[in-house]
Amino acid sequence: MSWTRDQMAARAAQELRDGYYVNLGIGIPTLVANHVAPDIDITLQSENGILGLGAFPTEAEVDPDIINAGKQTVTELDRTSYVSSADSFGMIRGGHIQLSVLGAMEVAENGDLANWMVPGKMVKGPGGAMDLVAGVRRIIVLMDHLDKAGSPKFRRACTLPLTGTNVVDMVITNLAVFERPDRASPFRLIERAPGVTLDQVRDATEARFEVSPA
């Protein structure tokens, strides 16, 4: 039994700590906001210039001047501040955002991340992903364990163009959770989805990793 996307997002939400400022990437990472524990207070940052991101609006609340980085309509909160893109990335690049949860095409065992382009396909650009991985203190990747062709996405080395080098701290897939205590250490398998065996994880993973408990 592998984890669903919601269960992966819920697992990522366990990494949130009270008072964190957090940037959630587009796609599955957005679901993390639905799983914040009631005793944890976090502030979501959207890199287009919102600190204190609210929920999606009701039809009556829709305001075209309030959108998130995915260009979706959102709402503001009593804590919200609006900033310019330069100030927003100042928060990111300056290390003031504690955690970012992002999607990925590939992660390498040395923490390299590829999530912005596939050679031969139309390149849309990195958006804010390179800035986020270079600036945010802790990076969690949420991704399927295998790609659509069935190949491992957690690899010895990335084959796709990089978004950042040695930037990933935790990888949560539909099969397992890998973590490392710092960016000089190897990744360690710390959890498996219910019913998923160690051998199944090994078979589906190209990256080398340690196993906890050893």
């Binding site: 890199e47 609006p57 009701t58 075209p64 001047d65 893109s85 330069a86 927003s88 650009g125 600036g135």
Partner: protein, 236 residues
């Protein structure tokens, strides 16, 4: 008082456009884009433009309109999805793209406007973005040098302005507009509301008038929404 307020976008652009020029534009996606001035640029017929803008609009709206008329030669952007016309021209080799990471792009515009020709950032180190750019080690970390951007013309969208060109933006429509306003040799702002002198609290000015040479009332305020996402009122 120097007269900064012009009657129309066409009048404000008069004498300001030439083929091959670089134009910086505010906006993120379709939010906070200078709709009125973009349409006036289309009508001006100016060609071979280099456009500095986080995004490239959609096929029939925003900067997509300048792409459709083939007035753009090069885009400097962080993300250009959502635009088939862009893709068509790019794949045909008719359009050049320089990708700049979003925060780096914002800082390049800010730096250009602040008289800083280049700066160092960790963003993009070890990626394709850093190829051909100088790097330097500071305190044991590697940084890549990025250049400031100064544009011949900047076009921005604000919510309110007074006749001195003091600007106030609204909510997340601020985005790239303040930096775009500073990096233009000439900056033209279109505004939803033109208010009397003194009507804007000096403590609430986002862009001071020194950065704004010309002003018009925005006549296009469609504010198209790319991803209208709502929740049911009952679930609230």
């Amino acid at each position: 008082m120097v007269q900064k307020v012009y009657d129309s976008a066409g009048a404000a652009l008069d004498g300001m456009v030439r083929d091959g020029m670089t134009i910086a534009a505010g906006g993120f996606g379709l939010c906070g884009i200078p709709e009125t001035l973009i349409d006036a640029l289309v009508r001006s017929g100016v060609r071979d433009l280099t456009i500095v803008s986080n995004n490239a609009g959609v096929d029939d709206f925003g900067l997509g309109r300048l792409l459709r008329t083939r007035q753009v030669r090069k885009m400097i952007s962080s993300y250009v999805g959502e635009n088939r016309e862009f893709e068509r021209q790019y794949l045909a080799g008719d359009l050049e793209i320089e990708f700049s990471p979003q925060g780096t792009l914002a800082e390049r515009m800010r730096a250009g406007g602040a008289g800083i020709p280049a700066f160092f950032t960790r963003t993009g180190v070890g990626t394709q973005i850093a190829i051909g750019k100088p790097t330097a080690d500071f305190d044991g970390e590697l940084y890549v040098m990025e250049r400031g951007i100064v544009a011949d013309l900047a076009i921005v969208k604000a919510w309110k302005a007074d006749p001195y060109g003091n600007l106030v933006y609204r909510k997340s429509a601020r985005n790239f507009n303040p930096m775009a306003a500073t990096c233009g040799r000439v900056t033209i702002a279109e505004v939803e509301q033109l208010v009397d002198p003194g009507a804007i609290d000096p403590d609430h000015v986002h862009t001071p008038g020194v950065f704004v040479q010309r002003l018009i009332r925005a006549t296009c305020n469609e504010k198209r929404i790319e991803q209208r996402t709502t929740r049911s009122a009952h679930a609230a």
